[in-house]
Symmetry: C2
Subunit: 383 residues, 2 copies
């Protein structure tokens, strides 16, 4: 196990009815900006629950944050937050709303062009505190310090991270996910699954605890994901998916182990260039990364095949089976695993590789050895 430092300050309030905890979780006398997305929280009643819990407080609102939240929109929200002298941000929605709100939190205090936080890794020295009510289990952003933002003008999708933008609290009420369209639930399950794999499917460092927890989360998503599509109002299923998705990326399974993240980096270019859903890109790229890197990832692929998919046979048969089972799982969740299924032509591959080079994603993976040529081969495997 590698050395690590771990802390996670986010307080989790989990379960049906926990939105009322907002009254206790929000700082006294805070001037709150409520941020949200396209309005689904108004339709499903979450907005009303939040507004009810905000009674007696000074608060403002900013709606319209997009999936793959647009930098341009977030700068409007930042202006509003500064104008209203907001000192607490309350994100209500899915990962995009929370991610976007993290950028607002940092941009409010940033001197210069806030895009530099993403494009130049400019350090965040101060951020407005934030909390969230999560309505879509997927990204884990509700309990970490990371965010991914898209600049609409240039079609660039970039991330940043800072301990200052961890949500102070995250309210996770599984009933808020009942009204999600199947596509979003499917995407959420695939997203969480791949987050786990990015931290698990590398090489062994004798981190038995992290491995077992990762495998337990994968098994939970495999068991519960299809049920979440079949029975949208099964509380237990939604609860298990939601808690698994949070623990998939709250830092716990990633401490003391190597991490990959090549799938995410390559996938981001696919979303930016072709508008694919984030999880769709992951379903395409991950199996191809597993295949392309099967020699380097051999030991963990075998462990994964045995423990998660209960496979037996020769090592190579187990690896083949593990990759096939992973693809099959994504397909069963309604996420095809080839570029062509989404109408992305082979001719896009060189352009996608060029964008990786432009963003300096030229040494990806846990060994930093996935060159642009490797990324090209990975995309060819996924064609």
């Amino acid at each position: 196990m590698n050395n690590f430092i771990f802390s996670n300050p986010t307080k989790i309030a989990f379960g049906e009815g926990q939105i009322q905890e907002l009254k206790n979780l929000l700082p006294k006398n805070a001037r709150v900006l409520l941020t949200y997305g396209g309005g689904s929280i108004i339709k499903n009643g979450v907005y009303d629950q939040v507004v009810s819990a905000l009674q007696g407080r000074t608060w403002f609102e900013f709606g319209g944050i997009q999936p793959n939240p647009h930098y341009e929109t977030l700068m409007q929200a930042t202006e509003l937050a500064k104008e209203r002298e907001v000192d607490f941000l309350l994100a209500v929605g899915g990962g995009s709303v929370v991610d976007g709100t993290k950028l607002i939190a940092a941009a409010m205090h940033f001197e210069g062009d806030p895009w530099d936080i993403l494009a130049k890794n400019a350090p965040v020295h101060r951020a407005t505190p934030l909390g969230c009510v999560l309505t879509l289990p997927a990204t884990g952003t509700e309990s970490n310090g990371n965010a991914v933002i898209t600049k609409e003008a240039t079609k660039e999708k970039l991330g940043f991270g800072s301990p200052l933008v961890y949500p102070q609290f995250a309210i996770l009420d599984p009933t808020t996910t009942y009204s999600l369209p199947p596509r979003q639930i499917a995407n959420g399950v695939v997203d969480a699954f791949v987050h786990i794999m990015e931290q698990y499917m590398t090489y062994p460092v004798n981190a038995k605890v992290q491995d077992r927890i990762a495998e337990g989360l994968l098994l939970t998503l495999i068991e519960e994901g299809p049920k979440a599509l079949e029975n949208p109002r099964d509380y237990g299923v939604r609860a298990n998916v939601m808690w698994a998705a949070t623990l998939a990326l709250n830092g716990l399974i990633g401490v003391g182990v190597p991490q990959d993240w090549a799938t995410h980096m390559i996938g981001h270019e696919l979303t930016a260039m072709h508008g694919l859903d984030h999880a769709q890109t992951l379903a395409i790229v991950l199996p191809a990364v597993m295949q392309h890197k099967r020699a380097q990832k051999r030991e963990k692929l075998i462990q994964y095949g045995k423990r998660v998919w209960n496979l037996q046979g020769s090592d190579d048969a187990i690896i083949d089976g593990a990759i096939a089972a992973t693809k099959q799982f994504f397909e069963s969740m309604g996420n095809p695993t080839t570029l062509s299924s989404y109408g992305v032509p082979r001719e896009s591959i060189p352009k996608l590789v060029n964008m990786l080079v432009k963003h300096n994603y030229v040494a990806l993976g846990e060994h930093g050895d996935i060159t642009p040529e490797d990324s090209r081969k990975i995309l060819e495997l996924a064609a």
Copy 2:
């Protein structure tokens, strides 16, 4: 899954050499009281590492905190801490030192007799902040808000908990455990194992994530525990045991699920009356609780037998096998599982039950239905 609120503020610094992180983790300008036990940290070099990291700071020390830390000793330490106007406590040692230091932290600010914190559940309104360097993986106290204290004069062993006594940081360097006597490593593994079982071996509430994590931690201890005895200087083994013991009782596997803790309550009386090591009492009592409550715990016993011990057959055969395997594991770690093995006579059983009644432990277990008569039967089963 039941509703829950979870947060864990302790920052973990894990790995060889992390004691040097003290420089960054201790608050600037703090007046530090270093607390420790019987002096093993002086022999194994940990004391010197800590003192080196404290260079340039104002600090004092208090040694001699016992296993099952004595209230009387801790009151002396509290006096010293107040006299020296200490504003940060640094516990260096095993669970007893950390537990004891939590009481010092609370007692420093308590008006009235601090024993009331334990005997009357008097609320803790303020506590001096603390951190720790853990040298014995076992209790999980390094990352929770609980402590157990023994009053030597009356042989009472009682606990308290407060969010104010979570360590701000915990330094876990597996190499500090190399010099532990085998008995302490064995006790630590058994203690952590039973902590997991207290939160896991109840009845199912469809908490798949918590169950899988608990099972992963149990499997880790089963795999690594015996190796920790065989190869005391195997870094990887010690690291896995240490991290598993912390996660066993940092709150994570206990959220949203019923908890038992009857084994601990009954075991505390055994330690108080007969001086048995804490883990020895757990090794005696847990299998008897599993047997006595096998009807109520049936579903989880079967799940445990299948997933943790890989047992097959009829349900009752799996349950029998699971209880036998648990006993066998404790025995293999050098902890016998009967009262008689430790020379505790049957005649002690009524006295132990009387002490449970005196401490009002008359409705134990996840259903609150373990009466003194049940405790008697459990102890008879373990005779």
